[in-house]
Amino acid sequence: MISALRTLGYRTVMLLEHLGHMAAFVGQIGLNALRRPFRFGRLVMEIFDVGVLSLAIVCLSGATVGAVLGLQGYNTLTRFGAEGSLGAVVGLTLVRELGPVFTALLVTGRAGSAMAAEIASMVTTEQLDGLRMMSIDPVDFVVTPKALAMLIVMPMLNVLFILFAFFGGYVIGVELLGVDGGTYVTSLEDAITFEDDVAGTLLKSVVFGLLVGLIATYRGYTAEPTSAGVSAATTGTVVTASVTILIFDYVITALWGV
């Protein structure tokens, strides 16, 4: 009994210490983002790495998800003779839910894991210590541009994902299954409002971008300096970020109804 209590106490202390370190890390990134030197060059490079290199996978996945939604939506709606609402179903599902969540999961898998692995391998090869010895703060030089890039890029990729999904749904619903094009677009336009749906999807993607950026950089930065440490940081990023995205998706939906 005493042993179990001791273990519980130790784990609680370790968890609090871990959370404290994470909070300090987040605070440091926030401060670095606001004060000089602003590292625009490095930020642009990171935006390229996270954003441009994720374009293909996000666009392709968006079109595919839209096509599946169009197909499933059509099959379900025809039972009720409501296939004219296909645009609304596809649009609302994508904008409110699937767009931000799918994009965040895809970006976590492609860019978040790469980000964690890159920073962790810099820990292993003493590159971060090399920066410290040059009196350069690695959080400022390496971590902050990466975390900011993730925050900036996530909403943009989300918008692209949704647009390509609209297109995928249109091709399947209108071109293949024969739903009237005008009806599809009109129902989509009527169903989506800016205040609730568009603002909500942007809010979700900003929160997810922030979370993925912080989790990936923190896991990389605190990795053990071994090859197993790099591997653990990468896997840990994907698992932690994916679960966190789903939990926060529920929380945002429940709190704000988006």
Binding site: M122, T125, E126, D129, R132, M134, S135, D137
Partner: protein, 285 residues
């Protein structure tokens, strides 16, 4: 008015350009690095037990000892990259064990470090790696930085390699490029972690000559960890043997004649079968 790049080796470039009057100690105040009563353990394994050691200014000190004796760890302690469990590390009159990370950045402007693996940023070219500390901490124009970096790369025997990526360099070239980066801001102290490990004899002599030249020409305080006994004996003014959590310190001659059985055993093991190397003299019991 933009500060001018200095040509001779009296004050660090960074200090020349960034120091506010009265904020920094002058170079003459930096007499040595002093470690007092250092205790450090990794988990339950003690590395140092009340280690005391001094490193004189402007001299080459070589840290020796068996694997796991704590040579690299001692360099990392002096660089402020890790902190001891107990004890003081005084650099230029300042105990660095009590400093915040931000204050340590100020101390590290005096220190260059050559890491065992080079620790060059692998996403940057060699030129950008060497230029990085100047771009971060000086107000030199890009043309001045280019000239300074090319001068440093030429000094380490790597002219025309600035455009290469670190992965395109051999082990010896990587070490020399890292040395160029470590000295580009003219630090007062350079810490070198195993600069000879894994190198062929030609590259060992090349790096050894480079370190000796830096020490003689610029008066740098060099602290080198090494397993390479011939090089260590040739270049060291002071040898520091890390044994049993403490340090045995002396000149190479003193330690070669040491009656300490631990030192003798280590030296005998290192020199055994070494062609042309004078064996450790017998000590009368």
């Amino acid at each position: 008015m933009r500060p001018r790049l200095r040509k001779s080796g009296k004050k660090p470039i960074v200090a020349t350009m960034r120091a506010a009057p009265g904020k920094r100690r002058s170079v003459s105040e930096v007499d040595r690095i002093q470690l007092e009563g250092i205790h450090l353990a990794f988990g339950t394994r003690p590395v140092y037990r009340a280690l005391d050691c001094r490193f004189p200014r402007g001299q080459i000190s070589v840290l020796m000892g068996g694997s796991g004796a704590g040579k690299s760890t001692l360099l990392r302690l002096m660089a402020g990259l890790i902190r001891p469990d107990q004890g003081r590390i005084v650099i230029a009159g300042e105990d660095i064990t009590t400093l915040s990370e931000r204050d340590l950045f100020r101390v590290r402007e005096r220190i260059g470090m050559l890491f065992q693996g080079g620790a060059l940023l692998d996403a940057m070219t060699v030129f950008d790696n060497v230029a990085l500390p100047l771009r971060e901490h000086s107000k030199l124009s890009e043309a001045d930085i280019r000239a300074e970096v090319e001068r440093r790369l030429a000094a380490v025997g790597l002219p025309d390699t600035g455009g290469l990526m670190p992965r395109e360099l051999s082990g010896g070239m990587l070490r020399r490029a890292a040395l160029a980066r470590a000295i580009v801001t003219d630090p007062e102290i350079v810490l070198c972690d195993e600069p000879f490990s894994g190198l062929d004899p030609l590259n060992v002599r090349r790096i050894e000559a480079l370190l000796i030249e830096l020490n003689r020409r610029l008066g740098l305080t060099l602290i080198v960890t090494s397993h390479h006994l011939p090089s260590s004996l040739r270049m060291a003014s002071q040898l520091v043997f890390l044994i049993d959590g403490g340090a045995v310190v002396g000149t190479p001659q003193e330690l070669l004649a040491s009656e300490d059985t631990r030192v003798r055993e280590f030296l005998e093991a290192e020199t055994a079968g070494m062609p042309g190397f004078q064996a450790v003299p017998e000590v009368a019991s």
